[in-house]
Symmetry: C2
Subunit: 393 residues, 2 copies
């Protein structure tokens, strides 16, 4: 390598971060190891077996028996697009619940798919009740889309009541579980979810690049009887079902090493046990919350609906948003997220997702935050945050 | 982990293969190492710098100054879809040159994007001349799509003459370089290519999962002045340009570790030097060809247009296609590809791509093939293949 090349394209040396933002989350060493295992062909008997196993594990995570449970070969947003474009044909009506960035995005995706979109809007951070949906449901939309864990607001949306109302109207229920999956119960069958998508880089603690999805039999029936082709060749579920199904028909070249990573990531969750994993997310969330509240920092979402894996909190008025986040990264190597859209400059988003949801991270962040807030003249009692957090209950 | 879990979801232990199929190709150890480096956030200053560097390297590979040169966060087929759906609006005319699977696929993708598709068809393995395109060009299509290296037939399509004809007609030229990029010259600016896509898993020898693309200024102007939104949110180049450009506006969460892999993969090519890399592909192709011809095995594509990185050869009539490939994998750990579509059961596709393009692999494959062919009664002289291949010229 010439000196010039070496200067322009230096050796890959990513800094060590503690990823407490809205994702990607910290990756477990075993998952990083898995990413580097020798690549095999995408039709290799070993890989086909791995796909079967991954599907079975994803069914456990999604708590579903759905045959069409697999991973889209792209990131979570492509999972959103996959569920929407497979269910929607031009002219179909789709109602979308919007109380944050990802509801907005879903409405955008649905519009691009040719849907007549009914927007059901609510203040950011508030959750929906069945009553909120009633006027839209009277119009009998083909599909109703809703975000279970709004990554932009930190609000957790209960699904069961919504699902009953949606099905009573004869609609299909489409759920965004990008941030929820792996960090709290997601019960696809019990809640009668017809299409759902997630991302690999949140509570699954795998690098970004795959989007686990699941389609109910009712959804697949709608897809199989479409009048028009799915607008996306890459995301066409009927073609993908021939590759993930028993036929193993070549569709695209699957991202082998990403699949290794996801396999190991989900395996870690099943080893821990779903309930233990959800409880860990909850306990660490409560500890962080005690600590933040001791520092006078409150939560943005509607009370009682705060997500365990994504803590959206009001930025103290004396603190500079950008400076604080920059110094957290520079001095401590800690990444947290800023606000998006309506919450820009007003909210911090602190992720405790997957492998990153550890008590050591809670204390490390609080200690760093105490220091930075004190420097900016935020009236806090140094040490009070970590003391409150570490009062194990 | 309970015994049952350990049994159902065993430790990840992929077998060691020699990947001489149509991709993925063998991955260089430095690329696998890169895949396992610590994940940082997708808006981390380190990652943003890495994106800049990757873009600069991809411009060198594509031999272009195009600002919009970057990687789509999905596999090569999504690169195809990205170039098509950004350029095409419903009702636009697109001519597609079809002489194999990937031309067919491009026509399918264009149809789904709402294009009026003009199919220009030729026998599999033959290449196109400007004359072949003349009738279609009279209809002044907005875009003409063509595959530079047809992975299904092993035929290499010269682009320059086609490009002149396409631009004389006032059309935009869209090129599939999935299998070409990194293994032979791809001169985007000199050849006036308006949109081009590739895949990470062929001659770049990175695991599958990213699709390098480049758009000319003329193409971007067409995209910026569209009347309708791009049908795919995930692949919308105007939004992606805000993330890859100076604004760094959040779009989707980039596949960080895949980007690490691609960075290291392209860095290896630049270290070797483009010309040396192309010459290596050519020399190893010639060696394989001498060996195969000594065994009486001929090439499927039009003479003079055989691709260096993908050798599509006729299966000897005495040989059983499936058995031979299965035994290559089982006994020797060697993967080669079977035929697709018109070539199913008639052609083997032997890739010598990227890191897999090594003389040791040529000899290893020929030795294994000689053994298996002899067992099936194919009339060959044992040792003649590897002897012919190793006559260095």
């Amino acid at each position: 390598m010439t000196d010039q090349l070496a200067k322009n394209y230096p050796e890959l040396r990513p800094p060590l971060r503690t990823l407490l933002g809205p994702g990607p989350s910290d990756i477990h060493p075993r998952v990083l190891e898995a990413m580097a295992k020798p690549t095999v062909g995408h039709l290799d008997p070993y890989y086909l077996e791995l796909m079967d196993r991954l599907q079975a594990m994803l069914r456990t995570l999604f708590q579903t028996g759905n045959a069409m449970t697999f991973a889209i070969s792209a990131t979570g947003s492509a999972g959103m697009e996959a569920t929407v474009v497979n269910l929607i044909e031009p002219g179909d009506t789709m109602a979308v619940c919007i109380n944050g960035v990802f509801g907005q995005r879903m409405a955008d995706v649905a519009t691009r798919a040719g849907a007549q979109v009914i927007r059901i809007e609510k203040t950011w951070g508030q959750v929906f009740t069945a009553d909120d949906l009633a006027p839209a449901l009277e119009r009998k939309p083909k599909v109703v889309g809703i975000v279970m864990a709004e990554t932009s607001t930190g609000a957790g949306q209960p699904i069961e009541e919504i699902s009953r109302a949606v099905h009573d109207a004869g609609s299909l229920l489409l759920v965004d579980a990008v941030t929820a999956l792996g960090g709290m119960p997601v019960c696809v069958d019990d809640w009668q979810i017809d299409a759902i998508y997630a991302g690999s880089q949140k509570c699954l603690s795998c690098p970004p690049g795959l989007a686990p999805v699941s389609f109910s039999e009712a959804a697949m029936e709608v897809i199989r009887t479409r009048k028009s082709s799915v607008q996306s060749w890459y995301l066409d579920t009927t073609m993908l079902s021939s590759y993930w199904g028993t036929e193993r028909a070549y569709h695209h070249t699957a991202p082998i090493n990403m699949t290794y990573g996801l396999y190991e990531a989900v395996r870690l969750i099943l080893e821990e046990g779903l309930d233990a994993c959800f409880d860990r997310h909850l306990q660490n969330h409560r500890a962080l919350r005690r600590g933040l509240e001791a520092l006078g920092i409150g939560y943005a979402p509607q009370t009682g609906y705060e997500l365990p894996m994504l803590n959206a909190v009001w930025i103290p008025k004396e603190a500079d948003d950008a400076w604080t986040r920059r110094e957290l990264l520079r001095r401590y190597g800690i990444e947290i997220g800023g606000g998006l859209g309506d919450f820009r400059g007003r909210v911090w988003r602190i992720g405790l997702m997957g492998y990153a949801s550890r008590m050591s991270n809670v204390l490390w962040l609080l200690a760093a935050l105490e220091q930075l807030l004190a420097e900016q003249g935020v009236p806090i009692e140094p040490g009070s945050g970590i003391a409150a957090a570490s009062r194990f209950e």
